[in-house]
């Protein structure tokens, strides 16, 4: 690395530190120096989110199409919420998960996004707006289902609206249905139920996610599958239900069921690739990553259904003027299809299906969204081979996967109690 960019970065971060929005724009503009391409001075949007969603390709394409420069601020899931609550003027667009909204919205730091300014607002999939598939089938709404937190009472509201109010909390970017990842070559028999996660057959070879609010929901899926208890709402347990769930988890931990817990995407990939675990909760792109290393791995659909999650763009209430216009322009560009097609090719789902479909090849759409066998080799956006011709996506079509959702990532009312119980579980 030469010294010059470092000096530029330092200066930029110093200016940013002062919190002067105009200052940051001017500073960044001076560094990028593309005044010749666009007549108006380029606007930089600071995009806060986790690294998984921050693709350099999307930023590059956005700059080409709109002249808006995206400056990524990659942090962990926890830090996204922390910054929204404590430093709302340190970003211009935030990519957060819907389940965090129960913490973020009451802080008053996020703006209700004006639906009238979002061109594709009416085309956003009904999974978010109504909790149903495009074909009208209702899907599971336990936990923080997006439809429960989609609308805000007003532009500066701190309460969720139960019916369309014209002000949106987050504009969906990506979402997916999560399940267990397995190593079929090491398990050598069909896996059909969540209860297999705690099956003593896999003693010392199982793993769960070490994010308390998500880990406990996976455990709840297991307990329901074992037929021990049926939760009214797995995403919002009572204290007794938390105790019951943690007791089952604790017994499994003490019996040596778990090899390790993972928190980071790469940890989950390494556990699976090295054969330390053969069955574990996993994220879809992690399964792809394991396969791309030549190791067989299946994102196994299970009869009890999926645990879904969804992320979207929020705007800080401090956003105003040109920056606000640029943020709306960026979101409109994002929903316009190119980015959606890009995300669909990674195994995520995009918010506006029609626009993404227009930007995908028919065989790609058939493989990723319709669950049909690949007519030709399926490649990732960067060109690496993902699936050979003839293979079928795990879990099948969009309707089959999203239609099979049982619950959504959530923050419980008893979150505080649950976190203490989680610490007790780790110490047990």
């Amino acid at each position: 690395m030469s010294k010059k960019p470092t000096a530029g970065l330092t200066r930029r971060s110093v200016i940013k530190g002062m919190g002067a929005v105009a200052g940051a724009a001017a500073g960044a503009g001076a560094i990028t120096g593309f005044p010749a391409i666009h007549a108006a001075e380029p606007i930089t949007l600071r995009y806060l989110g986790t690294a998984v969603n921050q693709s350099a390709d999307i930023a590059k394409k956005c700059l080409e199409d709109t002249g808006i420069k995206i400056e990524y601020i990659p942090v962990t899931t926890d830090d996204v919420s922390r910054r929204v609550i404590t430093q709302p003027n340190s970003f211009d667009v935030v990519d957060s998960e819907y389940f965090q909204l129960k913490k973020l919205i009451p802080s008053g730091n996020l703006l209700g996004i004006d639906a009238k300014k979002i061109k594709n607002a009416d085309n956003i999939t009904p999974v978010f707006t109504k909790g149903e598939l495009p074909n009208g089938k209702k899907i599971g709404d336990q936990g923080t289902a997006p439809k429960k937190v989609f609308w805000l009472e007003g532009s500066a509201g701190t309460k969720f609206a139960s019916s369309p109010s014209g002000y949106i909390t987050l504009i969906p970017t990506t979402y997916n249905a999560d399940t267990l990842g397995i190593r079929p070559d090491l398990i050598k028999r069909p896996i059909e139920s969540w209860k297999e996660l705690l099956n003593p057959e896999f003693k010392g070879k199982a793993s769960i996610l070490n994010i308390p609010s998500i880990g406990i929901m996976d455990a709840a899926m297991v307990i329901e599958a074992m037929g021990e208890y049926t939760y009214p709402d797995k995403g919002n347990m009572t204290k007794e239900e938390i105790d019951r769930t943690m007791k089952v988890l604790t017994e499994a931990k003490q019996a040596g069921q778990f090899r390790a817990f993972w928190k980071d995407f790469n940890e989950s990939v390494n556990l699976m690739v090295s054969g330390e675990t053969v069955i574990q909760s996993m994220w879809s792109p992690a399964v792809t990553a394991v396969r791309s290393k030549g190791v067989p791995c299946v994102y196994q659909p299970l009869k009890e259904g999926y645990r879904a999650w969804a992320a979207g763009f929020g705007l800080p209430k401090t956003l105003a003027g040109k920056k606000a216009d640029a943020a709306y322009e960026f979101i409109n560009w994002f929903l316009d299809g190119w980015a959606g097609a890009y995300l669909n090719r990674q195994g995520y789902y995009s918010a506006v299906l029609s626009s993404a479909k227009a930007k995908m090849e028919p065989y790609e759409w058939a493989f990723w969204m319709e669950g049909q066998p690949a007519a030709q080799d399926i490649k990732a956006p960067d060109g690496t081979l993902l699936e050979k011709a003839g293979s079928v996506r795990d879990g099948g079509s969009y309707d089959a996967r999203m239609g099979g959702v049982a619950c959504w990532n959530a923050v419980m009312d008893e979150n505080d109690y649950m976190v203490r119980k989680w610490n007790q579980f780790i110490a047990a």
Partner: protein, 298 residues
């Protein structure tokens, strides 16, 4: 810094000025954050905000069940029992290793050039980040790792040894690897200050090798041992990354308790646990300095 015989008060404004930078750094980066942590630890909170309000809630919840569950241990006591067990084991191993290495460097290597060269060799692992040094153990110790493959290949074991990784063993191994140098440096430093004439005198007086070691070298190396011990114990007590990665996130540590609360945006209970950890570590250091007054010895 020049040694001062008079108190700064009598030295006039210049001495105050000289002490100012350090005092400012200490104030801004140490005292202020510490005071804030203590203050926040008695504040209340809900899902998304800290409420300035004096409450014992965070401490009460931290010690929830500690009396009523006896003789079973509550979360906090169990966590500290694990943390202390790991700390003491790591301390004992690094002490023996660090002392042996420092002794070899100080008394067996004759030329000063060689001494310095070997001392620098000890620091080579520190050229990479400690996260890398820690993570590089994983492919070695895993179920299908190098150690298990070698042992299986040699026909010594039938099935892989599971406790090599994601266990207290791997945690302790990583800590010893990471922090033995913190023991070597101060002990080596103390040993280099020992007047060689004392050892010759002991030899002349007929002391055996062990007697010299126990009666001359160990007592004179005490300051180094105590400083090294403080380094190792405070680092291990507050660690959560090494315990997390090498223990497969299944082993509790005081740092992990704090981390879990921070992750859930619960700053006040995290601050309360930080204060409890600080108090525990201070008691340990107080105990160590009772054994030896470091300031007098330096």
């Amino acid at each position: 810094m020049a040694a001062t015989q008079d108190s700064p008060l009598e030295q006039g404004p210049l001495a105050w000025l000289q002490a100012l930078p350090l005092a400012l750094i200490f104030g801004v980066f140490f005292v202020v954050p510490l005071v804030l942590t203590v203050i926040v630890s008695v504040w209340n909170y809900d899902e998304y905000q800290i409420i300035p309000d004096i409450t014992s809630r965070n401490y009460v919840e931290a010690f929830e069940g500690c009396l009523s569950q006896l003789p079973a241990l509550c979360t906090t006591l169990k966590t500290y029992a694990t943390t202390l067990r790991i700390s003491i084991t790591v301390w004992a191993i690094t002490l023996v290793l660090g002392f042996a290495v420092a002794y070899f460097l100080a008394f067996h290597v004759r030329s000063q050039t060689m001494q310095m060269a070997l001392f620098l060799v000890c620091t080579i692992p520190f050229w990479t980040s400690n996260v890398i040094r820690m993570i590089s153990w994983i492919p070695l110790l895993g179920r299908n790792g190098l150690v298990n493959q070698t042992l299986e290949g040699a026909g010594l074991i039938g099935s892989p040894i599971e406790w090599l990784l994601f266990s207290e063993f791997s945690v302790i191994l990583a800590f010893v690897h990471l922090y033995t140098l913190f023991m070597i440096v101060p002990i080596f430093n103390s040993m280099m200050r020992i007047d060689r004439a004392l050892i010759e005198a002991a030899y002349d007086a007929g002391a055996s090798g062990w007697q010299t070691l126990w009666n001359i070298i160990v007592p004179l190396t005490k300051p180094g041992i105590v400083i090294g011990s403080i380094f190792v114990i405070t680092i291990v007590m507050g660690d959560f990354i090494t315990i997390g990665v090498m223990g497969g996130q299944q082993i509790a540590s005081a740092g992990k308790l704090i981390n879990t609360h921070m992750g859930a945006l619960q700053f006040p209970p995290a601050a309360a646990h930080a204060v409890i950890l600080l108090a525990t570590v201070l008691v340990i250091i107080w105990g160590l300095t009772r054994i030896l007054d470091i300031r007098k010895e330096l």
